[in-house]
Amino acid sequence: MTDVVMPQMGESIVEGTLTRWLKNPGDRVERDEPLFEISTDKVDTEIPSPAAGVLAEVLVEAGKTVAINTVVARISDGAAASAPAPVAQAAAPVAPPPPPPAPVAVPAPVAAAPASAPTPASEDLGPLSPLVRKIARENNVDLSTVTGTGAGGRITKDDVQAVVAKPAAAPAPVAAPPAATPAPAYAPPPPRAEAAKIRVEPMSTMRKKIAEHMVHSKQTSAHVTTVHKVDMTNIAKIRDKAKGAFQAQYGFSLTFLPFVAAATCKALREFPILNASIDGGNILYHSDINIGVAVALDNGSGLIVPVIANADEKNVTGLQRSIVDLAARARSRQLKPDEVKGGTFAITNFGSFGSVFATPVINQPNVAILGVGTIEKTPVVINDGIAIRSICYLALTFDHRLIDGALADMFTGRVKQILENWADSVL
């Protein structure tokens, strides 16, 4: 076996994107014959095979970016696997496979195999990818019973998954689940007492507070909502590029919200009146930017707005961390009292529930709240042509007592502009 690695295409280059495989697993390849293509910067490069043989395993699929020297494929010596026919088919499973709770990870059906070492029975199945082996192991699938549809009868990921997905697949006639739960699992609900068509339940303290707050806000502010359409294609690209590494490094996923929060903070610095509140006849301008992020508690049981203090001092990563942390603790009711106070502006992400746009209620004593709609690929007209872009509606509800419509639109337009022209790939 010869390892094929991601080559270093220049001194300053630490990774490459594998754009295309020019050979399929099982294909014969000559030494120096182009094997795959990579792309770095604006350069597309064909990479020749380091050895002659058969492409046994592809470890990095097209589209993935990996560090230089990462093994992307293995090439087996020429002679060995020229015809990886699925021999095993003949040797039908002799003994019935052991029942699922068997402590051994891999059920080795062919008992014959003496001292069957770490690789069971798969030798005669031709080259198998580690992924296929893993799926088989985890799901107790006997690979010798799987029909390969890949090149040369090779068993692919899809083949194994098809077997796993089949409800009671043929090769596993093991003790069918006790026929305890038959067809109609849903019993009709117990008949209700005809009398009680209304059920009375006292409001929780939180619900009372929310109710009071909502009405108070509507009575206090002159709510107006303005909606701007934002092209998030660029952000989507940056996010797509970063999200894998981000998840791996920080342990939580990268969403669109911190980008919106960061853009909002920047715009708030330029339009301080959106970061103000009203006190009788005075306007209070807040020098700190503390962003409240509306968090819906489980199954609509309530709403709480924890605050990211000095949000403008955080980068996208820091904002994402705060959002994840505050939301988790809000849901487990572990926020400290200070963490729900002092907000100077709020963001609500109803898009995460599929809403395109909504008209949020201002979180008093703020004077505005930004609602983020769901991000959808949408046909849009650019320069008289039609393009597919990731579009998001940003809805700003503002207090018309203090903020005029033109200013509100300048602010929202600025948030839009920052998002659409986001160039910084450092998060």
């Binding site: 220049g10 872009r389 160039a423």
Partner: protein, 219 residues
């Protein structure tokens, strides 16, 4: 140091106006010849009729018009094996296809692309235009507008494809694409108020190319 023995030679050819597909076939032939060391490094100049090409990292959404609309407007459309996203070539644009063996220079794709940018920047300077790089966006920019696109293919360290410099391109044609996936404007020497003869620009490109890559030129 002993003279001459290892001197790298650059020959230049000018294909004039040639359809993209035809020039591509010629380029492919030159690459094969260069691989077999039958020819020296080449700098090929060409001007294409209207064409939109899509690189390996291309995103279909960056072509703003369907192939039918492009065809109706007399614009060819091709997928190609160069790096980068979508671009437009057409009359008024000088396209340069260097066919070089980087084994004889530096086996470094970034260094190669940066050197191409240097060639363009040096050439623009001769016309009193300040071109610059934009971090993360290969090509040469004047202010916020792109004046030269770059996209390269490398096979066994032999280069193909290259750069496209807008001299007096009709910039309206860029409306059909989002150049390189970037929603930033494009410009040309003409748009910057510089009236330059193509031959004059090509001569400057050739001499700067030889300087940056360290050639003794042959004709």
């Amino acid at each position: 140091m002993l003279a001459a023995v290892q001197t790298r030679v650059l020959s230049t050819r000018d294909l004039g106006r040639m359809k993209w597909a035809e020039a591509y076939a010629l380029q492919a032939a030159l690459v094969e010849q260069r691989k077999r060391d039958e020819i020296s490094d080449q700098l090929v100049f060409v001007e294409h009729p209207h064409v939109v090409t899509m690189g390996r990292n291309g995103h279909d959404e960056n072509v703003l018009a369907s192939e039918q609309i492009l065809a109706k407007s007399g614009i060819d459309f091709h997928h190609t094996n160069r790096g980068g996203d979508v671009t437009y070539h057409g009359p008024g644009q000088i396209v340069g296809y260097p066919i070089l063996n980087l084994n004889d220079w530096k086996r470094d794709v970034h260094a190669y692309v940066r050197a191409l940018e240097d060639v363009i920047i040096d050439t623009l300077r001769g016309f009193r235009v300040h071109g610059e790089r934009s971090p993360g966006a290969t090509g040469v920019w004047v202010g916020d507008a792109k004046i030269c696109a770059i996209g390269v293919h490398i096979s066994r360290w032999i280069t193909s494809h290259g750069f496209a410099l807008n001299v007096d391109t009709d910039l309206q044609y860029f409306q059909y694409i989002v150049p390189c996936g970037l929603t930033r404007p494009v410009t040309s020497l003409r748009a910057l108020g510089i009236a330059a003869e193509h031959d004059e620009v090509k001569a400057a490109l050739r001499s700067n190319f030889a300087k940056v890559f360290g050639y003794e030129t042959e004709n």
